[in-house]
Structure formats: structure tokens, C-alpha cells
Assembly symmetry: C2
Homo-oligomer: 501 residues x 2
């Protein structure tokens, strides 16, 4: 092995070890840790975070990365090693340009901001959060300006952090296409919204049985319990120590059957991705998913492309009825399929159906653009938000809690993150279209045989981890970069049929 690379590996080994410890602390905190433990435990987390940081950012690593990025040394590196060096160099440059003192102040700000946001949301008062949000935005602008090269736009820098190679130019085309088709389609669907009776979903469903069905359905779609865990938490999420320890959570509502089912399938999609990453890279900086958009494409592929299709439920619905005979015996499969696909424009992104979901994202994307490129004032944001909801979804929030304050992302400093959700949806439709040309997907689903589908995803996406970015993965798989047409025609076909438009 290259000598400089071998030295870098020592840092990587420590870095990954600390990352695993931090991941485990976080998992434990979300699922199990006792209430009073936080104050003491957070000290340990702080110390280990500091050690984690030091394994990435120090003079020797800087030198090693410079040497290894050189043409001469680069020749001796294999594909994975090159990707690791590139990935670490990018992180290094991101961090290095920010003065440590400013970064610390920013970290403290974004550590306390979620608490301020939560209180403001509880009081339905954007004013209480506005000064903090303004501070965060100012830091984001300043940090991006430190990293700015040439006349690159601030928001483009932020977008690139979540999706390498993506910019407003690319996303404007993407979102304009979606908006042009989906806004009118949603209006047509909304006019017929009472067509589908979904009352069956809001009966009472035993929590233990819901959890047991969650274990069954996650396993059914390919979540491997020898490498994974399912637990309960306030909000569903996926996390992993490495490719053989991947954990998902769900939140069970006694009066909403589909909520936990689809969150489990969604998180299983994230988890199956992580489980499929190659052993050779799992304990390295490229050992996680490629990008937010790709990650979300996998979760939505399982949740929507597979999980909301009739072929998927054909072999599985009878099983669900077995779990809940009292509530479901009289509900035919057809009604269940209509129910899980029913569209009703709402105010809350996380509760949105497949059709309206991207419109929630477009609103956030347009507002973030205004914040960073038009310097719109923070105090004007609620009015802008509400106006856009009226325009795109035909409804308006009654207060800030169900409007501008609904998401935690900005409180954590995540700007440029939201577009990934819509990209994920679009990519999932694009992958499905590609897969369907190469595999009898529907037949497999009808036969309850999901293994070839998982194998296809592993072969074309999962195994690469973060050694390839979104465009590289897509073109590698189907000789075509991101194209919103697949997504638009998938939704148009589906909803035209469902609502007899």
C-alpha cells in the first residue's frame, strides 16, 4: 500500500471509531437513554466530537491529502482510495476556510436553536424564532462566502454540499417542470377528493400488533435482522454504525394504521441501502450513502414505487388482514390501494401524500433562493410562505406552527437540504423505469419475491457507497442523468387512473 495512504488510514480508523461511538450515543439518546442522563452524557459526546474532529482536521492529514491528491501519488491509488482522498479533501477544505472561533460560535448557536424553534412553534410565534434564524442565515452566508471561488453563488455552494454538482440552474429546470405539471394535476385531484373512502385507516389498531407487522414487512422488503434493529422513537429515522449494524425506528399511532407501515418501509429503504454498501469501504469516510438525494431515492423507491403499488400488496394484504381482522376483513384490497394513494393537499410536509409532496419542497426551495440570492428579510418570510401555499396547494396556514415553523431544518443550519427530498422522489421514479426494462418488477412483486429488486439496487447503487455522486450513479446505471420526466409521467399516469381524470 502507498505509504502516505497507509498513514492516512490510521486517521481514518480513529475517525470511523469515534463516528461509530457518536452514532451509538445518538441512537441511544433517541430510543432509550433515561431522561435525566443528557447533561452528563453530553459532556462525553462533546469530548468525543472534539477528538473526531481532530482526526480529520490536523496538519498531518492536510499534508497527506495534498500529497495523495497529486498526480504522481494518485496513480498508485485504486478507485476506492481515490474516492476516499477526494471526499476527505472536500471536507477538509470546507472546514479549513472557516475560522475555528466562528465555527464554535456557530455550533453553539445551532445547538441551542432547535430549543428556541421548538418553543416558538409551540407558541405559534415566528417572532420568537426570527432573531435566531437571522443569525444562522448570516453565519451561513459568511461561511459560504469564505468558501466562494470566482462568482459562484452562495446558494449554489449550499446546494452542492448536499448534492455534489447540483446548482440553481439545474434545479430550476427540474422544479419548473414538476411545478408546471403537478400544480394543475393536484387541482384536478382536489376537486374529486371525496371519491376515496379511507375511514378504515383511522380505526384503533393495537400497538404491539402494529410493531409486529412492522417487523414482518421490513423483513419482507429485505431488511436483514441479523444486521439490523427496529426500535420506537418520537420521529422515525435510520442510522448505522457500519454496513452490518443498521438501525431503524418507527413511531406508532394507535389511530393511524398506515403511518407506521409506510414509515417502516421508508426507513427500510434507507437501511437496505446502508446494508448493501461494500465491505471494502464500510469503515471509511465513503462508507455511507452517496448523497441525500440518492438516499431519499432508495427510501422512496421502497415506500412509494414498491410499497404503494397493487402488485406489492397482492401477496401481503391478506397478511395485514390477519393481523387486524376486525378492522380490515371488510375492506377489499382495491379500497386499501386507493386509500394508501389518496391525495389531499395539506399544510404539513411530513404528512403529505405522494402527489403533493414535491410542492411542499418547491416552496422551501424558492424561499431559500430568496433568502440567499435576493436578501429577502427574515421578518417577511411567514407572509411569503403563506402566499406560496395558497398559490401551489390552494390552502393557507392559520398560524406559524403549521406554516413557516413546521420544519426543524433551518434551526440546525440546514439550508439547501430540502431539494434532496424532491430529487429523491424523482430519482426513485427514474430508477423504477430503468429497472422495469431489465427486470419483471411487477411479476416479482406479485410473487412476493423482492430479492432480485434488492440485488439490482445493490449492484447499481448500494455497493458504491459514496464513491460516486448522484450523476455518476444515474449515468452509470442508465446512461442518463437526472430527468424529471419520469417522475412527472409516473404521477400523472397514476393519479389520472386513480381519480378517473
Amino acid at each position: 500500500m502507498n505509504k502516505a495512504y497507509a498513514k492516512l488510514c490510521e486517521y481514518i480508523e480513529k475517525n470511523i471509531s469515534f463516528r461509530e461511538a457518536l452514532t451509538l450515543f445518538e441512537w441511544d439518546n433517541e430510543t432509550l437513554a433515561p431522561e435525566a442522563s443528557a447533561e452528563n452524557t453530553s459532556k462525553a459526546i462533546g469530548v468525543i466530537s472534539g477528538e473526531y474532529f481532530k482526526t480529520l482536521i490536523n496538519d498531518e492529514v492536510k499534508e497527506l491529502l495534498t500529497v495523495l491528491s497529486g498526480e504522481e501519488e494518485g496513480k498508485s491509488l485504486d478507485f476506492n482510495q481515490k474516492a476516499i482522498v477526494k471526499n476527505m479533501k472536500k471536507s477538509y477544505e470546507q472546514m479549513e476556510s472557516i475560522p475555528p472561533q466562528e465555527y464554535r460560535a456557530y455550533s453553539e448557536l445551532t445547538a441551542k436553536a432547535p430549543g428556541i424553534w421548538a418553543r416558538a412553534k409551540k407558541n405559534k410565534s415566528f417572532d420568537e424564532f426570527a432573531p435566531t434564524l437571522e443569525e444562522i442565515i448570516n453565519y451561513q452566508k459568511k461561511f459560504a462566502s469564505y468558501r466562494k471561488k470566482g462568482d459562484r453563488k452562495i446558494y449554489d455552494i449550499l446546494l452542492d454540499d448536499f448534492e455534489e454538482g447540483f446548482s440553481m440552474e439545474k434545479l430550476d429546470i427540474f422544479f419548473d417542470k414538476i411545478k408546471a405539471s403537478l400544480v394543475p394535476l393536484l387541482k384536478q385531484v382536489t376537486d374529486k377528493k371525496d371519491m376515496i373512502d379511507k375511514s378504515y385507516n383511522y380505526q384503533t389498531f393495537d400497538k404491539e400488533k402494529q410493531l409486529a407487522f412492522g417487523k414482518f414487512i421490513s423483513s419482507y422488503v429485505g431488511f436483514d435482522y441479523s444486521k439490523g434493529v427496529l426500535a420506537e422513537s418520537a420521529h422515525p429515522f435510520t442510522t448505522n454504525l457500519h454496513n452490518k449494524d443498521v438501525r431503524i425506528t418507527t413511531h406508532i399511532y394507535p389511530n393511524n394504521l398506515e403511518s407506521s407501515i409506510f414509515s417502516v418501509i421508508h426507513e427500510s429503504g434507507h437501511a437496505i441501502y446502508e446494508m448493501g454498501i461494500d465491505d471494502a469501504i464500510t469503515l471509511t469516510p465513503v462508507g455511507g450513502g452517496s448523497s441525500m438525494g440518492i438516499h431519499e431515492s432508495q427510501s422512496r423507491f421502497f415506500e412509494n414505487m414498491l410499497g404503494r403499488s397493487e402488485a406489492f400488496w397482492l401477496p401481503v394484504y391478506p397478511k395485514l388482514v390477519e393481523y387486524f381482522p376486525e378492522q380490515l376483513s371488510d375492506i377489499p384490497l382495491e379500497q386499501f390501494i386507493a386509500g394508501i394513494n389518496k391525495s389531499e393537499p395539506g399544510l404539513i410536509r411530513t404528512e403529505a401524500d405522494e402527489l403533493s409532496y414535491s410542492l411542499h419542497i418547491i416552496i422551501r426551495y424558492e424561499i431559500e433562493k430568496m433568502i440567499f440570492e435576493e436578501n429577502v428579510s427574515v421578518k417577511d418570510l411567514p407572509a411569503i410562505w403563506n402566499r406560496k401555499y395558497k398559490e401551489y396547494l390552494g390552502i393557507e396556514p392559520e398560524n406559524d406552527a403549521e406554516g413557516i415553523l413546521q420544519d426543524i431544518h433551518w434551526a440546525g443550519g440546514s439550508f439547501g437540504y430540502f431539494p434532496s427530498y424532491a430529487l429523491g422522489s424523482a430519482i426513485s421514479a427514474q430508477i423504477y423505469s430503468c429497472m422495469a426494462k431489465m427486470l419483471p418488477v411487477e411479476e416479482h412483486l406479485k410473487q412476493g419475491n423482492l430479492a432480485p429488486i434488492v440485488a439490482f439496487l445493490k449492484e447499481h447503487i448500494h455497493k458504491y457507497g459514496a464513491t460516486k455522486n448522484t450523476s455518476e450513479l444515474l449515468t452509470g446505471m442508465m446512461k442518463e442523468d437526472l430527468n424529471a420526466d419520469y417522475y412527472v409521467s409516473y404521477l400523472t399516469d397514476k393519479y389520472t387512473k386513480l381519480y378517473n381524470l
Copy 2:
């Protein structure tokens, strides 16, 4: 703050943080981690263990400890700080005297030895484990000889590691006293062993309900769920990140009601100890329990002194009957109390009743003495073991699995550990006797008011953590060091009454 001490605190902070991470990994591994995760995760654990070690053993820490142990600097330290320096210096000297290469070889040996032991136990073949055991013993002898000062005996050095200030001289007196009284007492009891009908205990008991009762009873005795967690694992244990995050486990057997009840009360005793340690020291090297013996005294105090008494069950037994009406409605309290105290000499230490328990320990103590002070050959151990069981308990193992191979301790290199179990039992009886002079213990139990009992223990033992050793805690509380008389007379009284001797 003393400047050198402030510097030491930086190492302590890191050390405690890594220790918490390692504790969490271990907890997770025992309770939740997926089966296939171990290989990858163990690499992280290895790296963090190395970092943990480095925070304790390095040139700067050595110098700081030397300076701070000096008379001049010592004056500027308070009670806790002095205890911390003393504790770290002791650990340092233990580690420092062993050549790193030998220590690494020994660590590898004791990492793989439990696997070899488990296979040997499964095959009921001591021969398969004997060579490994011999290697471990040789390392232990060698390491102790490095640390030897003057004509100190090897086994005394090992005993002192678990119980500061304890030696064969002290323990011989202790165990001789116990043996002289309990061996004949046990024989008397064994003759009347069919007097008590305990068949109620071996009916079928729903696991969920057992777990729910476990949560109730742990909370009842003082386990604070805002600072703690109860989970299931193969073998019950207690662990903690700090005094506000203390975790216990239980193992539930569907056909043995009392097993989980008493293991939960036992582990709650350990946990309440850890929860009671002072905030000022919880995140330091003296932030855990004082010694193995003291820790075990707390668990056994709750399990035996409180948990097997009639006064304890008077208010609680009706509650247990509510959980299991079908199985217990016809069993009067009197029969239940007799059942949970029934004595039947058996071959397995972990299943032993209160009366015979210490005899299992005496056998191990005597054999360990022979190993280290008489150089008895490893191959002769099974025969020695069996002979002693015949002599003290009147029964003999049919194979090595239920004989010499039953405990994992020696495979982990823990020699000198077993005596702590008997010390714990004896100390718990001594503490009860002291407490009963100062508190109306029985009255409190009958009224279901355990708070004053927990408060007493916290005030005299828990809060001090490891700033005081066993003798200091005992003499501090009752002006008397360890005295086996309390234990002997407690058991004699109890079993004389129970069996009408």
C-alpha cells in the same frame, strides 16, 4: 484549582468520555446489537480502548501523579481530589510494571479464552480448557511478581485488586468462621429439605407480565427510571455511564417466577448504589462503586436482607398476586416467604440459595489459594473441586460443566474476585444490623416506605463512590470493620426458625 490538578482533569475528562463510550458499546452488545455487527464494531471498540488507555498511561499523567502525590502539592487538594489522585496512581503502578508486549499478549489470550471455555463447558471437557487456563494462571503469577514488593504473597496481591486492604490472613479468619457454622447448619437443613412446597414457583408465567412486575418492583425499591433503564439480556447485569444513567437487565424464564424477581431486585441494589454517588465525583475515576465487595453488599442487601423478608412482601405480595391470580391466588404469603427462602444445596453457584451460597465461594477461594500459593497442578483441579463439593455441600458434580467449568471468571483472568461475593453477603448482614439500630427498618418495609432505607445507604455508603475503601466505609458507618458474626447469626436465626431446627 491546583494547576497540576487542572491539567490532570483534562486527561480525566477524556478518560471518562471514552469509558462512557465503551460502556455504551458493551451495553448495546449485550442487549440489542445485531448478531452480525460484532466483527466491525469490535474494531471501533479496540481503537477507543487504546485511546482510553492512553489517557491514563502516559508520561505527563505519570509526572502529574507524582507531583500531586507529594506532600506539598497534596495540601492544596480536597478530599475527593486526593482520592482521585490515589486511585489513578494505583492504576498507573499496576499497569506500568507490566511490559506492554506481555500485556497485549495477555489481553489477546483473555479475549479468546471465554470462547474456548464456552466450548469446553459445552463439551463438558475440562481438558479442552486446561492449557488456556494454565497460560492465564502463569501470566497472573508473572504480573503479580512484577508488582511484588518485599515478601508479599502473590494471591494477596490479587485479592487486594478487588478489595483494597484484604489478604489471605484476613479472609482465612472470615471464611473459617463462616464454614464452621454454615456447613453443619446446611446439613441440618438438607435433612428437612422436603418440608417446604415450592411447586407454585414453577408454573407458567407470562413473560410480558413478569417484565412489567420487574419494572414495578425495581421502581418500588428505589430504582429511579428518570435515571435508568431496564432491558433483557442473556445474563442479568448492571452498568452505568454515570450517576444519572444506570442500566439493569434481567433474564425472564417462563417457568420460574422468582428468578427474574430476585435478579431485578439484586441489580436494582447495584443500580441504586450507582445512582446515589455524589454529582461531584460521578465523572471521575472514583465515580463508581468502592469495591466489588461493597457493590455486592448493596445488591444483596436489597435482594436478601430486604427482598426475602416477610415485612417486605406484606404490602407487595397482593400486588404480585394481582399480576398472576391464576397461579398465586391459592398460595398464602406464608408459603411464598418460605418458598423464596427454601434452601437446597446445589452444584451451581449462580442458582444457590442464601444459605449455601457462601460455601460455593469458600470452595473457589480455597482452590485459588492452592493455585497461587501451593502451585497445585491445573490438571488436578477438577478432582479437588469435586472433593470439596462433596465435603461442604454433600453433593458431587457429574461432569466438568456443572463442576470446575461452571464460572466464566477464570477465563477472563479474574482471580481473587470470588471472595467479594461472600464479603458482599456478610457486609449486607452487618449493615442491616447497624441500620436496624438507627431506623425502624421492619416498620418501614411493612408500610412500603423504602425511602428512608435508601437515604441511609446513600448517606453512609453510596455518595462516597470509590473515595473510601471497604474498611473505611464500614468503620465510618458503624465504628467496626468487617465482622462475619453478623452474617452467621443472621443465617443461623433465619434458618433455625424457617426449618424449626
